[in-house]
Structure formats: C-alpha cells, structure tokens
Symmetry: C2
Subunit: 376 residues, 2 copies
C-alpha cells in the first residue's frame, strides 16, 4: 500500500481527492497496490467535509510519519508552501505540486534537496494544467536539441482574448465576464499582466536547457493594453492575437525568454486554441514542431496531472527521476538580439514589417498606437 | 558508457544514427554517460556509407555481446523483426521500435518476454511518429479513466484529404501527388485502406485499457471511396472529412475500435490538422480532452521518438517500465451498439442525422451515395 497526503485543500487539493475517489480502482490496478489518502493538511475548518476524518493542522505529523510516501503540495504561493516542501523533501517524502510560483522561484534549490535525499520533486501540473507538457519535453523529446517553445500558457487571458476576437467584446467587459464565470480571480493582475505565463515559460526554459531563468529577469507584457481595433486588424492580416510565453535557444547557447501578445498567423495551430484551453508548441531539431493542447486549469484537469506525478513518483521510489537545472541561464538581450517581424499600427494602414530587433521596430514605429511581435 | 545497435538501416534506422550525430553531446549530458552506436545490422551493401565500419550481417553478434544494452528494431514487418526482437529480449537487451505492425500483432507476447527478462520493450514511435502519444497516455494521464481516443494517425491519407479539401484535387490525382512527394508508397494500400491507422488505434486501445484488440478484429474503412462532392458538402455543413482511428470504452468496460472517414466539426481541433501532420485526441474523465500534434512520419521525427525511448530504456535499466496488456479486450458490436450521428448524402440535400447505430443509419440511408459517421 502507498500513502499520500494533500497539503492545502482548495481547488486543486480537493480535485486530487476527487480523482482518487473517481478512479481509485484503475489507479490501484496501474500502480499494483492500493493508493490511500492518509492526511489532509489545512488550517481551515473542514469539519463538514466528507474528508473531515483525514484533516490535520500540524505539518509535523506528515513529516514524522515513516509510512507516508508522497506529499501533494497545493497550498500555493512561495512562503508556507516553500517551507513545507523543503521539510517534506528533507524528511524523505516525494513531493508533487501544481505550484508554478514556487517552482519558478525555488525549483532549483528544491530539486537539489530532492536529489540529495533521493526522492522525486515533480510538477507536471505547474505548466499547462492537465496537459502533458513537461514530461514530453524532458523525456519523449530528450533526443532533440530544443530550439524554441511558444505557448498559450494562461487560460484567463486566452478566454478574454477569444471573447474579444469572437464576440467583439472590449477588454474590460471580457474581463468582467471571465470573473463572473470563475475563470479570473478578483485580483486578476497575475494573469492579465502576464506574470503567471512568465513563471511558466521560465519553468519550460529551465527544463529545456538546464539553465535557470528567473521570472523577474524576463520581459513580461500582458494584455491590458490591447484594443479591439488591433484584434480586428490582426484578422484582416490573417492572424489572431494571442498572449504567448516564448523561449528560444540562440546558436551560441544563450536563452531568450519573454511574454507578450503576438500576432499568430492562422496557419499556426496555436491560432485556433480558444477559450480556457492552453497549448504549448515545442520545436526540436529532429522532431520539428510538436503541439500539446488541453485544459490549462481547473480542479480535475490539474488534479489529473498531479495524480500522474504521484503515480510516477511511486514508480520511481528507489531510483529517482533525473530532473533539474543547476546553473544560471545566460540571457540574450531581447531589445537588440532577437530579430522578428512586427505588427505596426499608426498613421496609415497597419502593416507587418520584415525581421528586425525590438529596438529597431520601436524606432520605426515612432508614435504608433500599437507594436506587437509576429510569431513565425 | 551505453551501447546500442540499429537493426535495419532504412529511413528510420538511418534517422536514428543521424539524430545521434546531430545531438550526441546533449544526449550524453542528459544521460550522464556517452551513448555509442556499436552495430548496424543490415543485409544490404552499405560499404559506401559513413557507417560502413559498424555494419554487420550476423544477428548472433548482437545477441551475444554482453556490452550491448539496447537494440533499435527498424526492420519493419512482422517476420524477421519478430524473430530478432524476441531473441534480443531473451538475451536481456532492451528493444525500442517504430514497428506498428509488429507491436499490434505480437506486442503482448513481446512485452511478456520483456517482463520475464526484466528489460524494456518500448515503441513510442509506432504511433504518431515523433509526437509524444503513448507515454502521455499511459503515464501522464494514468490518473484518468480513459473514455475515448480519436486520432489522425496516418500522414499519407491526411495529405491526400487535405489536397482534396484545400486544392479541390480528386482522390486519384492527390494520391499520385503524394507518391511523387514520397509521402505514399508505390503500393499505398496499407495507408489508403486504413490498415496502418488500424494497427495504431489497436496499440492505443491496448495501452489505454489493458486488453488486446487484434487489428484483424476491427472494422477498417479507408478513403479510396471518398468523392470530392462529399468533401465539398462537408464544408458547407461546417465540417472537414478526416480519416480517424477511434477507440471508446463503453460503460460496461467493453471496447469499441474502428477506422473510418469521419465528418469532423470545425470546432474540433482535429479538423485543422492538415497535410502530413498527425494528431491524437485523448479524452479522460478528469482531464477532459487533450490533443497531441506533430509530424506523424519521416526519418528524423520518428527517430526523435526512438531516441527518447532509448534514453528512457537506459534510465530504467534496473527497474523496467511497467507496461503491457495481458488479456483479450471484449469488443462491442459496432453495428448495433455504438450510437452516433451520421452524414447522409442521397437524393435531396445532404444532412446529418441524430444519434443512431450504424445498422439504423444504413437502413435509413438506403441507396444513398454516401454514409459517414460524424465525430462528436
């Protein structure tokens, strides 16, 4: 029998319990043993929950239980979650999480602790929710030199953009709709301003090239400045506007990573990814372009990825997954080193330029009302 | 140092050697040791090849070399490939393949031998070429009960259909184009008549539900009977025609699997998968719909998947991947048990019916010129 605990019984944590309830029999069959939820660590009053008998308030119970194999961290944030993850790994527990903020900020250190203790720290759910992304990237595509990653990494902003494109709804109204439907938080800044996508593109870059990219070191531009006019003009140019996290490997081995709204040509499969769906395009030098698509958020999709990691951690109890990044990435200067094509809307008809750097594009655009990169 | 051999130095085999040449340094970094190509087994005259010094004609050399860790089988077919795979596994070698014919026909037995000998038999490249499909299915989505799989699994037929749709080119001419471009073989029957897609949907079904589906036991219908008229009419109904392999799990645990051209609504991301690209949609009861997209064939994409498996086999040298199917699937009767909507074109305007079985649809259609299922 294998035992696991859930720390933080919010959307994701309760989703994990629900997935075990729904699929416990098939999970046991695949695992070859029964998987038991032994503890739920949460400070809230869960006495009315059907799981009330599992609820504990003291982390030390988990830390000191020699029969606890895996801890799911779904607390969120990088404070308590960081402390408990550290201690769980040091206590020899495998840890699985969906917490992109923590992985992007402290993943390197936590993975080093995991290596020292010969346990797994797995975080498939931190990027793309339920979509298999990280494991395909570091495992299935391991024979490739990864050249580029571009992804629609945030469902809230993609929902808003889809409403602007399909429904002609202005940004503010689309945001209000997203909040009413529960897709956007009351304080939507982390989504709207691109911070959430920024954390995710950093994790993808860390894994793809083994060098850490700090979220605070990359350029992040969200969608709050987008106008309906650009959305419409983009369509007449055969493009859709999508908020992309993008990371590239330059020929000299340096990394470029950023988040910005892009014009995505309709010939790219990313252009058709609508609503709360996410998708990640990975370009490898052998495989070419691969795209992974699905639900990037939500309780059950995210819990699906968490549960996949729990099973993988248990399958690698003795010999941990080799996974991590151990040096600083060397970043290219986005302003002057990354030529791309640009959409410029100013006086006269909107247009798409030839390849040039951001600095050159800005000089050319002058006082233009809009300047956006175009995905190749 | 890890050593591997390539059996069969055709398109895939030489692609694997090329991927090692291109990416040997990054592969060694990920693996933590150097990966060396030690033998190429091929009966052809390869004396002019840059790999001539590695070429051997006698399989017994591989079988008896205690320093050989992994064998890549890219011979194709189910005769010599079967014999050499069996013997390699029995000799304690890990075997990696792209050979869908062999996996679909003898995978169950070969996986049992692999289990007995504690080695890996891996075949990610057998479905979807370079696209990560099998590992996401059995690993990342292991927390789900898989409900349905639907895939564009054959690049040749998808190229032909795309030319018919986009270019208004009749079937025969599109086939000739595909042959000229090297996408279709001189004898294209296995592709055109759906046999190749049939093998692949069987492998997906085997892995998803653990029960073996024999390729000869499923209904397979190809694209040779499709007319340009249906392609055009489908568009006016908001659909594209795609050749899909489809597998479902019924509520009672039985399996339905088949291959047929479908009308795919434009709202489905499968409808936009064009040319030689493949895509597989997997529906899980927690994750919802996930789609995996990329190049389904070609030397380097397929070699990318093979190399990913080689590295995974080496990472699981002591503790093999738990993977396989060990019972017969119980198949539902497609004719009478699987209600779906149907496209009927006969006298009067073409239309899409409500949900009904194939038998009911056939009775309703009578002498109609076309009767095709519609993907939900």
């Amino acid at each position: 029998m294998a035992n696991f605990a859930i720390m933080g019984f919010g959307t994701v944590g309760s989703g994990v319990a629900e997935v075990l309830r729904m699929n416990g029999a098939s999970i046991a069959e695949k695992l070859g043993e029964r998987l038991t939820l032994k503890y739920i660590l949460d400070v809230r009053d869960l006495s009315a929950s059907p799981y009330a008998s599992l609820v504990v308030k003291d982390f030390a119970l988990l830390e000191s239980d020699p029969e606890l194999d895996v801890v799911v961290e779904s607390i969120g944030g990088a404070k308590v979650a960081y402390e408990f993850t550290r201690r769980a790994l040091l206590a020899g527990k495998h840890v699985v999480t969906s917490n992109k903020e923590l992985v992007a900020a402290h993943g390197r250190e936590l993975l080093e602790i995991a290596r020292d203790k010969n346990v797994n720290y797995l975080f498939e759910a931190s990027v793309g929710g339920g979509i298999p992304v990280l494991r395909p990237l570091f495992q299935c595509l391991a024979g490739n030199q990864i050249q580029e990653i571009a992804g629609i990494l945030n469902g809230t902003t993609n929902y808003i953009l889809t409403r602007m494109v399909e429904g002609g709804v202005p940004f503010d109204e689309a945001l209000r709709e997203a909040q009413e439907k529960g897709y956007a938080e009351a304080n939507p800044a982390a989504d709207i301003e691109g911070l959430d996508a920024g954390r995710k593109i950093c994790i993808l870059s860390d894994l793809a090239w083994g060098g850490e990219v700090r979220p605070e070191a990359i350029s992040v531009r969200g969608i709050s400045g987008l106008s309906l006019e650009d959305v419409d003009v983009a369509r007449t140019l055969g493009c859709r506007i999508k908020l992309l996290g993008r990371a590239l490997r330059l020929e000299d081995g340096r990394t470029a990573a950023y988040v910005a709204p892009h014009l995505v040509p309709e010939s790219s499969p990313l252009s058709g990814v609508d609503g709360v769906f996410n998708a990640v395009m990975i370009r490898g030098n052998a495989v070419g372009d691969v795209m992974l698509y699905g639900r990037g958020a939500g309780d059950l999709p995210t819990a699906s990825a968490v549960m996949g990691d729990v099973l993988d951690a248990l399958a690698h109890r003795e010999k941990r997954r080799s996974l991590g990044w151990s040096r600083d990435a060397v970043l290219a200067d986005l302003e002057s080193e990354l030529p791309m094509r640009w959409y410029i809307r100013g006086e006269g008809p909107a247009r798409i330029t030839g390849a040039m750097t951001a600095r050159e594009a800005r000089a050319l655009a002058g006082q233009a009302a809009a300047l956006l990169p175009v995905l190749e």
